[in-house]
Amino acid sequence: MFYTVAALTLISSTIVVLSRNIIRAAFSLLFSFFGVGLLYALLSADFLAVVQLMLYVGGILVLILFAIMLTNRVESVGEAHQSYRRGPAFLLCGSLFAGLVFLALQVPWKPGPATAFVPTTRTIGEALLGPYLLPFEAVSVLLLVGLIGAVVVARKESRTESE
């Protein structure tokens, strides 16, 4: 099960990176996000798996697809997007990956006691309104600021501003 999901995630991530067609990359990103959600489920994080599906697949990905459709002319959507500096980039990322894997294998992790699966939604809710109340409020303010900022940036300039 794990190997299937991991292969799905990594193969579609590779297509995201290497595909020359931006639409194909966006649709591969769908499977990538979906795979990460399944991995969350394998880690017995049920609430996060659902949040991943709703926010990433239902929100961010739709936003990205909208942006692609709106900012490319229809005839150029499938056009090849060239990329630069492939050799050094591959070298750098390969060595980064090797280093991270070396680290993950080298460190003697001490696993805690294995526990049976318990639903996490209630615990997360209580943690958000208990010890994590301040970050929770800060994130909500940040969300508001980001929303207003996005509207301000994306709208057409009004008459009073251009004068």
Partner: protein
């Protein structure tokens, strides 16, 4: 399948996703392509947080942290796409990040 699926497996998957995200940032020139790379990297970081939370302790703290990470990624995508729209209005062509290299007051 002799080996048990442990923490290391998830760490390796997350490391591969993170490296792919950096590769995406380095090789792509379109703004939306760069955004996809960033999303891959955020996903890898969140996967690490959840894996550590599951394997090294019983607390739910890592999952709450990953939740904040997801929210931050959503905000970032909204703002980045607003900038992409603005660039498209201004330059009226496909947005590569080299197009917008001139800062104009």
């Amino acid at each position: 399948m002799s080996m048990e699926i442990g923490l290391t497996h998830f760490l390796v998957v997350a490391a591969a996703m993170f490296s792919l995200g950096i590769l995406c940032l380095l090789t792509r020139r379109t703004a939306i392509g760069l955004l996809m790379g960033i999303e891959l990297m955020v996903n890898a970081a969140n996967l690490n947080l959840v894996a550590f939370s599951h394997h090294l302790g019983n607390a739910v703290d890592g999952q709450v942290f990953a939740l904040f990470g997801i929210v931050l990624a959503a905000i970032e995508a909204a703002v980045a796409l607003a900038i992409v729209f603005k660039l498209f209005q201004t330059f009226n062509q496909r947005i590569t990040v080299d197009t917008a290299s001139l800062l104009k007051g």
